[in-house]
Symmetry: C2
Subunit: 154 residues, 2 copies
DNA sequence: TATATACCCGACCATTTTAATAGGGTATTA
DNA sequence: TAATACCCTATTAAAATGGTCGGGTATATA
């Protein structure tokens, strides 16, 4: 069970954007230099983030990217899903034998819920605050469903 | 973010072991035939499970494997960790530039906690019960640490 | 004791996935 | 009008995974 760099780079880049949100938009070159992520790779990533409405682009000289909304309104889950990180654990691409029950289906489904709920509860502004403790998990019961935006991705 | 077959096969095989726990031990051939998992691959897997004390082997004709303890005492987390499934999301193999703070470290660490806590809360006997709802997550606060066995794996 | 059954073990290979590159564009503003 | 910066597709190299292969060793029954 591993994270792909897609999701990790997306979070790292978004955090950089927040920390450097000043007068000028942040260019991809700056992020590439600071975080050691390939420029072309960043470009591919930022297209997705922009299309999901998480960032805004400013073209022309002096242009770059800025967050589209306050960091407190952007969850880690939203960033990772926008980047294309997958969270499907059950029966990946495999079909079951005719009508056979999948004993583990509910397990993986529950796992996905738990993960997304946690990532949804953490916002970008929390990560740039070294003193904040985010090692906990919110309570979840079966009636406490995921938010619409995240559920739609499924 | 994906599961490897290691973890999934381990859970599937352990469940099969539980469902077919009768007079005779279960042979790997039976599991291989029923679940469509390569025999050699199962052998490699079961060595690990045995060494972690989750199953017991019976050699000779009529031999096979049985659960080493009641299914209610075996968590999914224990099975997956025994199988070698990894749960490290932070800085995988990458070192940071000198002394630089890792802003996302706590995030991935918290994610790991949440995942393991959930998998630890689900026991094998629950999975073979179709009516049980396991899509919830137990409450976790910072003082509620992981059990020793699982923590040691880290 | 012989032999069938079943577990044990290390090395190896093929496929898939991922991470990253390359290169050619288009829009915008100083 | 030229520099800057974003946009897009196709391709490739490396890593990880999933699985095979062949040769063992232990045990229990006949």
């Amino acid at each position: 069970m591993k994270l792909t760099t897609k999701g990790r780079y997306a979070v790292v880049a978004m955090l950089f954007l927040e920390r450097n949100s000043g007068i000028k938009p942040v260019t991809l070159s700056e992020i590439s230099d600071s975080e050691g992520i390939s420029l072309s790779y960043l470009e591919q990533l930022f297209i997705k983030l922009r299309r999901k409405g998480l960032i805004k682009s400013v073209r022309g000289p002096g242009g770059g990217y800025v967050l589209a909304k306050p960091a407190a309104e952007i969850s880690v889950a939203a960033v990772m899903l926008a980047a294309g990180e997958q969270f499907d654990f059950c029966c990946q691409g495999n079909t079951h034998k005719d009508g056979e029950r999948c004993f583990t289906h509910k397990l993986w489904d529950g796992l996905r819920n738990v993960i997304l709920k946690y990532l949804e509860s953490v916002r970008l502004n929390q990560l740039n605050d070294p003193d904040l403790d985010i090692s906990w998990c919110v309570c979840i019961d079966s009636t406490d469903k995921l938010s619409g935006a995240i559920k739609d991705e499924h």
